[in-house]
C-alpha cells in the first residue's frame, strides 16, 4: 500500500501542478508555449509507442499531424461543423492514412518503413499544397475557431492549455495501460527479435499495423489541437524537418518508457521558446538559439544514439537503480 502510494505521489503532484498552472501563470505567451508542449507530448507518445516499444521508425509523422490539422480545420471552417466533429474527422482520417500506409509497408524491415513513411510524408506535403479547394494551397487555411462545446468556448491561452493538457494526460494514461498489459509485452518481444516474437505466436504484422495506426491517430489528434490553438494551418509546417524533430524527441526520450519521451518533448519544445522560461533573455541570445536549433537537434540525435542509447528513460532507470541500492 505504501509502495503504491509512493509510486503514484509524484504522478499526482505533477498532474496537480500542470492543472493548477493557469492559476499562478498569468503570462499569456508562456501558457501558449506550454500548450505547444502538451501537443508535442501527445504526438511524441505515439512516436514512443512506435519507436521505443515496437522498434519501428517513422519519418512521416508530420504528415499525420497535417492530416489531423487540415481535417479539423476544413470541417470547422468550410463545412461549419462543431469542434468535436472536427476532432473526430482528424482521428478518422489519420487512422485511415495510418492503416493504408502501414498495411503494405510493415511487411518490410526497418529502413524500408523509414523510407516509405518519408515518401508518404513528402507526398502528403505535395497534396496539402495542391488540394487548394480543401487546404487553401500554399497560402494555408485560416480562421479556424477555438474549440467549443455548445456555448462553452475553450479560448487561448487558458482554455486551450487545459484542453491540450487534459488530452495529453488522458493519452498518457491510456497508452500506459496498453504498454503495461499484453500488447506491451508483445511489442517488447517484437523490439527484441521479430522472428523470436513470431515464434512465440505473436501476430507481428497485425501488432505493427495497430501500433502504427495508434501513433498516426495520436499525431492526428495533436494536429487538430494545433489547428484550433493557432487558428491557421499551412503546408510548410508539416515538413520533413518536423518529422525529424519528432524523431529527435522520441530518441532523446529513450525506449521502453513514456515518461522519458514526454520529458524530452517538453525540453526540446521549449528550446526555440527559451525566452518564455528564461526571463530577461536577450533578443540576440534567442535569435542565436533559434539559428542553431536544427544543428543542435541533429547533433543530439547522433550523440544520444552513440553514447546514451537509453536516453532520458535510461538515465531515470539508472537513477532509480542507484536509489534502490542505496536504501
Amino acid at each position: 500500500m505504501r509502495a503504491k502510494l509512493l509510486r503514484f505521489t509524484p504522478m499526482a503532484l505533477i498532474t496537480l501542478a500542470i492543472a493548477a498552472g493557469p492559476l499562478f501563470i498569468d503570462d499569456r505567451y508562456l501558457l501558449k508555449v506550454l500548450t505547444f508542449v502538451a501537443i508535442n507530448v501527445v504526438i511524441v507518445t505515439g512516436m514512443a509507442l512506435l519507436f521505443g516499444y515496437a522498434g519501428q521508425i517513422s519519418m512521416g509523422h508530420a504528415a499525420f499531424y497535417g492530416i489531423g490539422a487540415y481535417a479539423s480545420g476544413y470541417a470547422t471552417t468550410t463545412l461549419g461543423l462543431p469542434w468535436i466533429v472536427g476532432l473526430f474527422a482528424a482521428i478518422v482520417f489519420s487512422a485511415v492514412g495510418g492503416v493504408l500506409l502501414a498495411l503494405p509497408s510493415l511487411r518490410l524491415k526497418g529502413h524500408y518503413l523509414a523510407m516509405a513513411t518519408l515518401g508518404f510524408g513528402e507526398l502528403m506535403k505535395i497534396a496539402f499544397i495542391e488540394a487548394q479547394p480543401i487546404t487553401g494551397g500554399p497560402d494555408g487555411l485560416g480562421g479556424i475557431p477555438y474549440p467549443r462545446i455548445g456555448s462553452f468556448e475553450m479560448a487561448a491561452p487558458v482554455g486551450t492549455y487545459l484542453l491540450a493538457w487534459g488530452i495529453a494526460g488522458l493519452v498518457l494514461l491510456l497508452v500506459r495501460n496498453v504498454v503495461t498489459q499484453r500488447p506491451g509485452r508483445a511489442m517488447r518481444a517484437l523490439h527484441g527479435s521479430e522472428l523470436g516474437a513470431m515464434a512465440c505466436g505473436i501476430d507481428i504484422v497485425g501488432l505493427k499495423v495497430r501500433v502504427f495506426t495508434v501513433s498516426a491517430v495520436l499525431a492526428g489528434i495533436a494536429g487538430s489541437l494545433y489547428a484550433h490553438l493557432v487558428g491557421f494551418v499551412s503546408p510548410s509546417t508539416f515538413s520533413l524537418h518536423l518529422s525529424v524533430i519528432l524523431i529527435a524527441m522520441a530518441v532523446v526520450g529513450g525506449s521502453g518508457s513514456l515518461a522519458g519521451p514526454a520529458i524530452a518533448a517538453t525540453l526540446l519544445t521549449l528550446v526555440p521558446f527559451a525566452d518564455a522560461i528564461i526571463p530577461g533573455l536577450s533578443r540576440d541570445a534567442l535569435a542565436l538559439i533559434q539559428d542553431w536549433e536544427a544543428d543542435v537537434y541533429g547533433l543530439i540525435i547522433i550523440l544520444v544514439m552513440l553514447f546514451a542509447p537509453g536516453g532520458v528513460s535510461g538515465f531515470m532507470r539508472r537513477r532509480r537503480a542507484v536509489a534502490r541500492d542505496a536504501s
Binding site: 522498434g55 521508425i57 519519418m59 503494405p104 509497408s105 518490410l108 524491415k109 526497418g110 529502413h111 524500408y112 523509414a114 523510407m115 516509405a116 518519408l118 515518401g119 508518404f120 513528402e122 507526398l123 505535395i126 497534396a127 495542391e130 522472428l195 520533413l240 524537418h241 525529424v244 524523431i247 529527435a248 530518441v251 539559428d291 542553431w292 536544427a294 544543428d295 537537434y297 541533429g298 547533433l299 543530439i300 540525435i301 547522433i302 544514439m305 552513440l306 553514447f307 542509447p309
Partner: protein, 293 residues
C-alpha cells in the same frame, strides 16, 4: 506530340536520370558494406555543389580544379561522418545507424546553411556555347558533361569493384561481413571507403548539375529520396541495377511531365517509390531472399 518534342523529354529524363543514378549508387555502396540506408546521402549531393561553388568563388580556382576539390572535400566529409558517427556504434544495430544518418542529414544541411549561407548558388557551365542539335531536339552542353562524367564514374567504379583488391574486399563484405572479417578483410576500412565513395559520387552529381539548377543548403533531402527511389527500383545492393533504376526514374518523371503536368513530377516519383516498396521491395532486377534466423 511530335518526335522531336518526345526526344527532348527523353533527353531531359536521361539527364536527371544520370543524377539519380549517381546518388543511387551512393546508397547502394553504403548499403552493401553496412546493410544500412544512409539517409544523409542526399546531403553529399548538396555538399558537392556547395563546396565547388565555394572553392570556385572564394579562391578563384579554375573550374575543373574547383570541381575536383568539391568532390574531394565531399568525400572527406563522408569519411569524417563515418569515423565520428557510424564507427563508434560498434554493435552495428540497424535502427540506431539509420537514426544516426537521419541526425547526420539534419546536422549537415544546417551546418551548410551556416557555412555557405541561406542563398541559392550556381556554378558556371563547364563549357560555354550553344546547345547541340539532334533530330530537332536541343542538348545543353552541360547535359553532355553530366552523361560523360556519369559514364566515367560508373566505369571507374566497375573497375574498382571487379579488378582491385579493395573491390574484392568490398564485394566480400557485401556477401557476408563476418565471413569477410574471418578471412582477414579489414571490414571497418571497407565501410569507411564505401562512405568516401558514396560521398564522392553524390558530390559529383551535385556539382555537375549545379550549373543547370541552382543549389542551396536544403536541396539534399529531395534528391536523396529520388536516389533512394532509383536504388529500390533497381534493387538495393546491385550497382548496375542502381544505374538502371536511376535512368528509369528520370525517364518516368520526364514522361509524366510530357503527358501529365510538371506539377506532379515529384508526386510521380514518390508514387513510384511507394509502389515498388509495397509491390516488389526487392527491386525489378533482383530476386528476393528469405530472412534467416
Amino acid at each position: 506530340m511530335g518526335g522531336s518534342e518526345l526526344l527532348q523529354f527523353v533527353i531531359s529524363g536521361l539527364k536527371n536520370g544520370s543524377i539519380y543514378a549517381l546518388v543511387s549508387l551512393g546508397f547502394t555502396i553504403v548499403y552493401a558494406s553496412t546493410g544500412v540506408i544512409n539517409f544523409a546521402q542526399g546531403e553529399f549531393y548538396m555538399l558537392g555543389g556547395m563546396f565547388s561553388v565555394w572553392v570556385f568563388a572564394t579562391f578563384g580556382l579554375p573550374l575543373p580544379l574547383a570541381a575536383l576539390l568539391g568532390i574531394l572535400l565531399t568525400a572527406a566529409v563522408g569519411v569524417v561522418f563515418e569515423l565520428l558517427a557510424i564507427r563508434p556504434r560498434k554493435d552495428g544495430d540497424q535502427l540506431a545507424l539509420i537514426i544516426i544518418t537521419v541526425g547526420g542529414s539534419l546536422l549537415l544541411s544546417s551546418l551548410a546553411r551556416h557555412f555557405f549561407g541561406p542563398d541559392e548558388l550556381a556554378l558556371p557551365a563547364f563549357t560555354a556555347g550553344p546547345s547541340v542539335r539532334l533530330f530537332g531536339a536541343a542538348i545543353e552542353r552541360q547535359t553532355l558533361w553530366i552523361w560523360g562524367l556519369t559514364l566515367v564514374a560508373v566505369v571507374l567504379l566497375n573497375w574498382v569493384y571487379n579488378k582491385t583488391k579493395l573491390g574484392r574486399a568490398m564485394r566480400a563484405c557485401a556477401i557476408d561481413r563476418d565471413a569477410a572479417r574471418l578471412v582477414g578483410i579489414d571490414t571497418r576500412m571497407v565501410v569507411t571507403v564505401s562512405f568516401a565513395l558514396a560521398a564522392a559520387l553524390g558530390g559529383l552529381a551535385g556539382l555537375s548539375v549545379a550549373p543547370l539548377t541552382q543549389t542551396a543548403f536544403d536541396v539534399g533531402a529531395r534528391v536523396g529520396v529520388k536516389g533512394f527511389a532509383a536504388a529500390i527500383l533497381g534493387g538495393l545492393g546491385n550497382p548496375i541495377a542502381a544505374v538502371a533504376g536511376g535512368l528509369m526514374l528520370g525517364l518516368i518523371e520526364s514522361m509524366s511531365i510530357a503527358y501529365l503536368s510538371s506539377t506532379y513530377k515529384d508526386a510521380v516519383s514518390l508514387g513510384v517509390l511507394l509502389l515498388v516498396l509495397f509491390v516488389r521491395p526487392q527491386g525489378l532486377f533482383t530476386r528476393s531472399r528469405k530472412e534467416k534466423v
